[in-house]
Amino acid sequence: MLQFQNICAFIDSFRSKIPTETRLICEEEPNSYSSEQYKSLASKLLGERNQAPIKSAVVTSSQPGEGKTTTVCNLALVMVKTFKKKVLIVDGDLRKPSIHKVFDLDQSPGLTDLTTSESNSLESAIQQTRHGDLFVLPAGSESSDPAQLLNSKEMTSLASKITGKFDFIFYDTSPVLFTSDAQALGKHGDVVLFLVQADVTPREMIKEAVDRLKNTGSEPDACILTNTTRQKNLLSYIHGYKYSNYYNDQDKH
């Protein structure tokens, strides 16, 4: 006769996995499968483009909640921890800034303050995180016209100033279909990364967002598919189990 526990375990296997609230998975679970995926992505980004090293990337998506901030933070963290790089995250989402919350920093002074007032120095605005060589330039004080600000000469000047001071700079931006901020920031990065949330973002929205970026000369150089489902079939459950056990065993050792 079947054991009660076995039945429970069987049912459990079909139970939905609730997404975790943790954003910095590379910090919380450095040996997890997701961390490995970030590491793989980071190594690709630290490569070359047109025989020149990639130094900055603008990260955007078609709509909110597709994982821009999470991706930027985790990639930056991986670059610092694993690849020992000095990395800056520029919070270009001036309408809904969130990078400072992730790293528990002050929102201002930041990007808006630097571009609107000369009284703030770049050094005072860029804040170091608890992760050593990971720095953040927060969004700064609330701005009435973020698009104009990001298109300003001051922004161009600021971008040229920070370039070269860090091994890699990430620009976190707002969604393409809701604002034109990403298009404005696109010219400051060596590459434009376009994020798409798997099983959620409709194709029509993706196409429209890419078309808008192309029309403003910020054509995406690469895409990242986020929030994909690892357990593609029953066999993947077993693989996932093995993978988890492998790292658990490593930790025990």
């Binding site: 895409c223 598919l225 489902t229």
Partner: protein, 544 residues
């Protein structure tokens, strides 16, 4: 799904797993529902076994006289008595199927018969002539009584009693009576339709609204008045021809009268004959004198007088004189006719012609009158034809109904004849098998009153419920999936926007959420508990 994505089993499983709750929740609800429905449900089963021995033959046709249930049982009984040649019977029923399948079909037939009457009929494996009859009900007494009643029915069917024969005949005769009534009704309706149809068809034919073929197919019973009206219609061209002839004749007579043509032929012998010259005395005397003188001349010639002889010359001169006188007289007579006698003759001819002309004129008038009538009749017909659409519809409807009735009549007649033939056969059969009736049936195990309930067939219900709910769930899942336009793989994304996909990030799963088999989360959902209860109860009933 996109074209570039293969519909492999893996991708289907992927879809199913993505919407696993849509599959799981209906499954749990269904199983729970079945559990609640079947909880503490008691069923009682009663059974009996009977065996058969072949002793009589029962015609297939005769079975038609039985009620449906009796017929099925009869089929079964008749088939059972042929236990040794079961294949022969089934081969007759299913000629294109091999013997193994025939046996299977026969069993299926038996089980269908049982199912139809709420019974379960099965053959014992060790003895194919032994039939196990069982019935399941929520009440023990009901199960018992149904099995008992079934056996009694089979026993009744096994014996051909005179009562059964009478019953069959009565059944057939009542069928025949019913058929006869129906046939009479059909005949009456047909007659009514024909009577109603005839004037309509006649009127339609008169105005040329239906063709002659249709008319002839619909007018076998047209009344004589209508027939006359057709003849009247047909006489118009004849009348017109007659009129033409008469008018021609009339014209000719008029011409004759006008040109006095009849006078042109007055010197003809016919005309002369009409003048009585012989009755004129002077003329006759002169002619007689000429004849005598000619005789005298002939005598003189015969007596040898030469022509130059004065006697002869005198006679000749006398003859010439007489001839001259005769001619003069004839001329006088003729002149007299022209002045008096011949004008009377002309008048009489003219009178005749005029009389003819009058006659012709009256005939022409008569024909013209008739034509006038016919033309007015034709005008009337034309106006009728213009307003005939609705009548044609009516004809069409009535005609189709008539055809339908003819067909129905044919079918009913056939049925009636068959029933009559069947009655004869039943009577013959009853007489022929009077001494050797009956199928020997032994009741091996009599029906019993069940004293304990049987285990309810949970497993099959649960399996069916699970299959149905999963099927429904899968249907919903694939409907949702077909409407989903989101992207779920890097390859698909790359194909859409043409930009390389450098990587993908999975949903975050913390270690505690990773699949494991050795830990149980204490906060399992209520549905899980319910499912366990269902499984537990099910397994305890089926396995233990």
């Amino acid at each position: 799904m996109a074209n570039y994505e293969e519909n492999t089993l893996s991708s289907l499983l992927n879809v199913a797993l993505r919407y696993k709750w849509l599959l799981f929740v209906p499954l749990v609800i269904t199983l729970l529902g079945i559990y609640i429905y079947t909880f503490d449900k008691k069923l009682y089963q009663s059974a009996a076994t009977i065996s058969f021995q072949t002793e009589y033959f029962f015609t297939q046709r005769n079975n038609n006289a039985l009620s449906p249930f009796e017929r099925d049982v009869q089929d079964l009984v008749a088939s059972l008595k042929y236990g040794k040649t079961l294949e022969t019977i089934t081969a007759k029923a299913y000629p294109k199927i091999n013997p193994k399948k025939q046996r299977k079909l026969f069993k299926a037939k038996a089980s269908k018969l049982g199912a139809k009457n709420g019974l379960k009929l099965s053959f014992r494996r060790d003895n194919f002539r032994a039939l196990v009859i069982s019935y399941t009900a929520s009440d023990a007494a009901e199960a018992h009584s149904v099995v008992k009643a079934t056996i009694n029915t089979i026993l009744d069917n096994a014996n051909i009693t005179s009562d059964r024969v009478q019953k069959s005949i009565a059944f057939l005769e009542s069928s025949m009576a019913g058929l006869k009534t129906e046939l009479l009704d059909i005949d009456q309706e047909m007659l009514r339709l024909k009577n109603g149809l005839a004037p309509l068809v006649g009127a339609a034919a008169n105005v040329g609204a239906i063709d002659s073929v249709t008319q002839s197919s619909l007018t076998p019973d047209l009344d004589s008045g209508l027939q006359r009206s057709f003849k009247f219609k047909e006489s118009l061209p004849q009348l017109e021809f007659d009129l033409h002839v008469k008018e021609k004749e009339f014209q000719r007579l008029e011409e004759k009268l006008k040109n006095k043509e009849y006078l042109k032929s007055e010197n003809s012998s016919e005309t002369q004959n009409q003048i009585d010259y012989q009755n004129d005395t002077l003329y006759n005397q002169l002619e007689a004198s000429i004849l005598e003188k000619k005789k005298e001349l002939h005598i003189l010639t015969s007596q040898g007088f030469k022509s130059a002889h004065p006697k002869q010359r005198t006679v000749k001169a006398e003859i010439a004189n007489l001839q001259k006188l005769s001619k003069t007289r004839l001329e006088e007579l003729q002149n007299t006719d022209k002045k008096g006698g011949l004008s009377a003759y002309r008048l009489s001819i003219e009178k005749e012609i005029k009389k003819d002309l009058g006659l012709k004129a009256s005939e022409i008038e008569s024909i013209k009158d008739k034509i006038k009538v016919l033309e007015s009749y034709q005008e009337d017909i034309r106006s009728q034809k213009n307003s005939f659409g609705s009548k044609l519809d009516s004809i069409s409807v009535q005609k189709s109904r008539l055809e339908e009735l003819i067909q129905k009549k044919y079918v009913k007649s056939q049925a009636y004849n068959n029933a009559a033939q069947e009655v004869e056969e039943v009577r013959r059969f009853a007489q022929a098998s009077a001494g050797e009736m009956g199928l020997k049936i032994t009741i091996e195990n009599p029906p019993y009153l069940p004293n304990a309930p049987i285990p309810y067939a949970h497993l099959s219900l649960f399996v069916m419920g699970a299959i149905l709910s999963l099927g429904l769930g899968m249907g919903i899942v694939f409907l949702i999936e077909s409407m989903d336009t989101s992207v779920d793989s890097p390859a698909e994304l790359q194909a859409i926007i043409g930009v390389p996909v450098i990587g993908s990030i999975d949903k975050f799963h913390s270690e505690v959420d990773t699949y494991r088999i050795d830990q149980v989360d204490p906060s399992e959902p209520v549905s899980l508990m319910a499912l366990c209860l269902v499984f537990g109860h099910l397994l305890s009933n089926t396995i233990i």
